[in-house]
């Protein structure tokens, strides 16, 4: 991703984040958060993680934030009253994150990661040749769409994720499914009105 675009989307993301913290109306906060997440999704795409970027927009921006907005409306939250945030909490809220960032900068001063390896059609072609000297010829990946995409010099993002998810991460996937079920049941149980004991 060109540096200029990176800084643009990063600015959108950070600006949205600041909006979440600074805006007093919860609805405005939620909307700024959507902006921030869109910027984040763009950064994901810039990192060649197309699937995750789309997931970010679909799940976070589309579902989660809508849920937030829905709850804010449901509870009919007003603007936070005019009373100022207490100076001590503002001081803590500024100093501690600043310290964290300073520490981060100090760490970066001592380390140099260098640049990303570029992913271009040429590099993909090379990858296809190097891909799997150990993988036998009749393996799934050789005959799968991933291999075809790679041969077409396209990054087989979704293919590889799907391949990885259903092969190596199958058990965690099942567990996550159970977790979602539990969360659903939990939501129902929590939202149910308690019957008055009589």
């Amino acid at each position: 991703m060109p540096t200029i675009l990176f800084y643009l989307f990063a600015l959108i993301m950070i600006g949205g984040g600041i909006g979440v913290v600074a805006l007093k109306n919860p609805v405005s906060s939620a909307l700024s958060m959507i902006v921030s997440f869109i910027g984040l999704a763009a950064l994901f795409v810039g990192l060649n993680a197309y699937f995750v970027g789309i997931l970010q927009i679909l799940v976070y921006t589309g579902a989660v934030m809508v849920l937030f907005l829905f709850i804010i409306m449901l509870l009919d939250l007003k603007k936070e009253e005019e009373k100022q945030f207490s100076s001590s909490s503002i001081a803590a809220g500024v100093v501690i994150p600043t310290l964290l960032v300073l520490q981060l900068i100090a760490v970066f001063q001592t380390s140099d990661f260098g640049n990303f390896q570029a992913i271009t059609p040429e590099s993909l072609a090379m990858s296809e040749q190097q891909l799997d000297p150990s993988i036998p010829a009749d393996s799934v990946i050789r005959s799968s769409m991933a291999a075809e995409n790679l041969a077409d010099r396209k990054l087989p993002d979704v293919n590889l994720i799907g391949h990885k998810l259903f092969n190596e991460y199958n058990l965690p996937l099942q567990i996550i499914a159970v977790l979602l079920l539990v969360a659903t049941v939990g939501c129902v149980a929590l939202s149910k009105k308690l019957k008055a004991k009589s």
Partner: protein
């Protein structure tokens, strides 16, 4: 199984059965069980006399190279002592059947009596000092339980406590003495204790061991518990506080002296022991002259006679001491049981000035009591005469001063015993109870008769049985200075008693200043009370200060206050319930951890 072991097991079994199974519901069975148990042990003891059974021993505890055994030592000393213990024990049991017939807690009484028999047997048969010490403490316990049998009475409970605590003082010295003896001789087993030559510290060790005897045999200055112990039932006084347990100190010293050998005992220790015995004997005899309680008179008399025995031990003639122990056990048990019979007949009246004329109303008791008195006062050809003569001989040979004290004590003994006899048994009845007194039932009279017989016959029985050789150093009447002194003492004492007390209604000497000193037991109890008060208050004040200021204020209180203060600090400022506060702390923690992990 070694039949000697049965001597230990039977009383223990009986005590356990009575305490845990029979309890109060089957009190009569408990009484019979205890009595039969004692009868069986007496049988075994008698059979051991003629047999040449040897002791046995098994390991009880092993600490490194140091072994503690539970063992039995069978020799003349222990065999003879066993006969005394079980014989008098049996008679006291039988007497108790009548005396304690209507007691509310008869089962507890007989259970404790069995426990005592077990403990006393253990002392007598012990073949080492540690085992003896264990049983030594057990007799202390059973004595405590029996003195406090009527614990509802404050005086009985206090007396039990006093006896126990006084014994503890002596036992502390005893324990140190045992350790020193172990260090000096390298063994706690009596058989392996013999020393060829005196060693340094042996004198101190002997005196420390003697501390145990001071406590148990109630020598000065720990004699104060024995008169108070008369709060217990009278048969208990007869068995424990006259015949057997208090004599255990003498027995232990004799056993100890025989074990290490007479030659190595340092003179200074022996003389100290002898003088303690002599002074106890004299002081107790003086106190006995002014007591009004029939049991107290006998208690002080016991003290006095124990002083005799200790004196004999101190004169390095334990044989004489043991012989006196042997004869004294019979006639003092007789006197106590006789006093018990009198008390029983007079509805628990113990003051001799409220008795009188009992001899005619209670002929068996009267006659046996007179026999006991004659023995105690050493009338020629009674058992007391022979045994006292042995001690007088020993004193005459080695320590003239003690000899004169002993003769004086003999005169005093005659004086106070005939005072008792004249006032309680002759003259007119001075109280309604005494006027209507009746002879005691057969179950109590028979033990009195047997004891009367034994009191007279014990020296000859001792002579007839080879195993009792230790008990008759000398029997016979030879006219020498000692015999003459003994008879003279008797005559002087008798004459004084006749002059002062024959047919008197009240004590003619009660207002004499010196006599009041005797009546008040030389104010020893009061002096102890003051001493204890001063020490106790001072120490208590210091301890209280340390406890309050250092321990409570600084250590315990200070630590808790620090913890509490710190806790409050965190509770009030950190545990505020404010979400933002927690988040701030979380952030701070993350910063600190990052700093430590990355930059340090």
């Amino acid at each position: 199984m070694n039949s000697a072991l049965l001597l230990l097991i039977i009383p223990l079994l009986s005590a356990i059965l009575i305490h845990f199974l029979l309890q109060q519901k089957m009190a009569s069975i408990a009484a019979i069980l205890g009595t039969i148990g004692t009868l069986v042990t007496l049988g075994i003891s008698l059979s051991l006399l003629s047999s040449d059974a040897v002791g046995c021993s098994f390991n009880w505890a092993q600490i490194g190279d140091f072994n503690v055994n539970i063992g039995i030592q069978l020799d003349q000393l222990s065999k003879g002592m066993m006969v005394v213990v079980t014989g008098i024990g049996l008679l006291v049991h039988v007497f108790s059947l009548g005396y304690m017939k209507d007691d509310e807690s008869k089962a507890r009484y007989f259970g404790n009596l069995s426990l005592f028999m077990f403990s006393m047997t253990g002392i007598v048969l012990a073949d080492n000092f540690v085992m003896m010490f264990i049983f030594w403490e057990l007799v202390g316990l059973s004595s405590y339980l029996l003195i406090g049998h009527w614990y509802q009475k404050d005086s009985a409970a206090d007396a039990a406590k006093k006896a126990f605590l006084s014994n503890r003082v002596g036992d502390f010295g005893f324990l140190i003495g045992i350790l020193m003896i172990w260090g000096i001789t390298g063994s706690i087993v009596f058989d392996q204790m013999a020393l060829s030559a005196a060693t340094p510290f042996l004198g101190a060790a002997v005196l420390l061991v003697f501390c145990g005897a001071i406590g148990k045999s109630a020598q000065l200055p720990l004699h104060v518990w024995l008169p108070d112990a008369m709060e217990g039932p009278t048969p208990v006084s007869a068995l424990i506080h006259a015949a057997t347990m208090v004599a255990a100190g003498v027995y232990m010293m004799a056993r100890f002296f025989f074990s290490i050998g007479f030659d190595v005992i340092p003179d200074c220790s022996a003389v100290t022991i002898a003088w303690i015995g002599g002074i106890t004997s004299l002081a107790a005899a003086l106190m006995a002259t002014q007591q009004d309680d029939i049991k107290k008179i006998l208690a002080y008399s016991t003290l006095s006679q124990l002083g005799y025995m200790v004196m004999a031990v101190g004169l390095v003639d334990p044989n004489a001491g043991m012989f006196h122990l042997y004869t004294h056990a019979w006639f003092k048990a007789l006197l106590f049981l006789g006093s018990g019979a009198v008390i029983y007949a007079c509805h628990h009246e113990q003051n001799i000035w409220k008795m009188g004329g009992l001899f005619k109303k209670m002929p068996i008791t009267g006659i046996t009591f007179v026999i006991g008195t004659l023995c105690l006062t050493a009338v020629p050809f009674t058992s007391g005469f022979f045994s006292k003569e042995g001690i007088l001989h020993a004193a005459h040979e080695s320590n003239p001063a003690l000899f004169y004290i002993a003769v004086a004590v003999a005169a005093l003994t005659t004086f106070y015993m005939f005072r008792l006899l004249f006032i309680a048994f002759f003259g007119k009845a001075k109280d309604e109870h005494a006027a209507h007194a009746k002879e005691v039932p057969l179950v109590m009279a028979v033990p009195l008769l047997i004891l009367g017989l034994m009191s007279l016959a014990s020296p000859w029985i001792g002579k007839a049985i080879p195993a009792l050789n230790d008990f008759h150093p000398h029997i016979g009447l030879e006219m020498n200075s000692v015999t003459i002194a003994s008879i003279a003492a008797f005559v002087v004492g008798l004459a004084a008693a006749v002059v002062f007390y024959k047919g008197k209604e009240s004590d003619p000497l009660a207002n004499n200043k010196v006599m009041q000193l005797f009546r008040n037991k030389f104010y020893v109890d009061e002096a102890y009370a003051i001493l204890i008060k001063i020490f106790q208050d001072l120490v208590a004040a210091i301890v209280h200060f340390i406890d309050e200021f250092f321990i409570n204020g600084l250590l315990v209180g200070g630590l808790t206050r620090i913890a509490q203060g710190t806790g409050n600090l965190f509770r009030n400022h950190c545990q505020s319930g404010r979400l933002q506060g927690y988040a701030t702390l979380l952030g701070l923690g993350a910063i600190v951890i990052i700093y430590i992990v990355t930059f340090l």
